[in-house]
Amino acid sequence: MAPRGFPWVYPYVEEGRGRSAQFLTRPLLRPVVAVRMKGARLGSQNVAALVDSGADHVLAAPWIAQDIGIDPDPNRETTLGIGGGPRRVRFADVTVHLLPPAVTVTGGGYDPSEIHEWQAEVGFFTQWEPPWSIVLGQVSFLDRFTVTFSRHAQALAVDDVSAFDDRYSQPPASSSHPPERFSA
C-alpha cells in the first residue's frame, strides 16, 4: 500500500518561552515533523525532528545511532559550529522514514505503509543536548521535498520535490540559466 499523497501539512509545535523572555507574548512555534531512522535495525521509536532551512545537513543525536545499531564512520568526521559552539559530527548513510501528519508529536503511532522513505547522509553528534534530537536541513531533506513554511498558518507543508518547479516556472531573476537540479 502506498502512502497517502502529498502535500502533508504539519501544525507547528508550540514551545514555552524561557523565564528570561516572558515579555515576549507571541508564541514560540517550531516547524517539527516526526521521523524514524533505520540503520542496522529500525529505530525503536519516533523522534521529533526540527526542520531547519539554515542547516546544510541532516543531523542527529548520538543516542539515535545506538538505537538503530550503527557506528558512524570516524573517517567522515568534521566539526560544525552549531548552537553557539563547535561540535564534532561523524557521518553515516541511513534510511529515514517521514511519518504522516496524523502521527503528531504528542500522539505517536507508526504504520510502515504510511511513510515516505529515503536514503540520507546523516551527521551524528558525539555530544548533543537540545530538545530536538534530529535536525532536517538542506541536504538529504530539503533537496528531497518541497517544503513550505507558514508562520501565518502555523504549519509547514511537505510536498513532492517537483512542486516548486510546478509553482514557479521561471528561474531566479539573478541567474541567466535555470539552476542545475540536484538528483533526489
Binding site: P11, Y12, V13, E14, E15, G16, R17, G18, R19, S20, A21, L28, V32, A34, S44, Q45, N46, V47, A48, L50, D52, G54, A55, D56, H57, L59, A61, W63, Q66, D67, I82, G83, G84, V103, T104, V105, T106, G107, G108, G109, Y110, E129, P130, P131, W132, S133, V135, G137
Partner: protein, 69 residues
C-alpha cells in the same frame, strides 16, 4: 504515568511538569519519562512500547534555541 496533554501540538504544559526530562509521548500523553534518552529507550523496550515519539522537554530556565544549523 499516563498524563494527558492538550490536543494541540503544545509542549508548554510539559515544560512545567517535566522540565529537562526526556519523554515519550503517545495518544496525547506522556507514557514514560527519564533523565536520559538511553534510559528512556530501555524503559520503553521493557514495556513493549514501539510507537511513541521521543523529545526532550526544554526547561524554562534554558535559553531559547536559535540558529541551530
Amino acid at each position: 504515568m499516563a498524563e494527558s496533554v492538550p490536543p494541540t501540538n503544545s509542549l508548554v504544559r510539559l515544560q512545567h511538569e517535566y522540565p529537562g526530562a526526556w519523554v515519550a509521548l503517545k495518544d496525547g500523553g506522556v507514557v514514560e519519562a527519564r533523565a536520559t534518552p538511553y534510559e528512556l529507550v530501555a524503559a520503553l523496550h521493557d514495556r513493549g512500547i514501539s510507537d511513541a515519539t521521543i523529545i526532550r522537554v526544554p526547561a524554562e530556565s534554558e535559553p531559547e534555541l536559535v540558529e541551530l544549523g
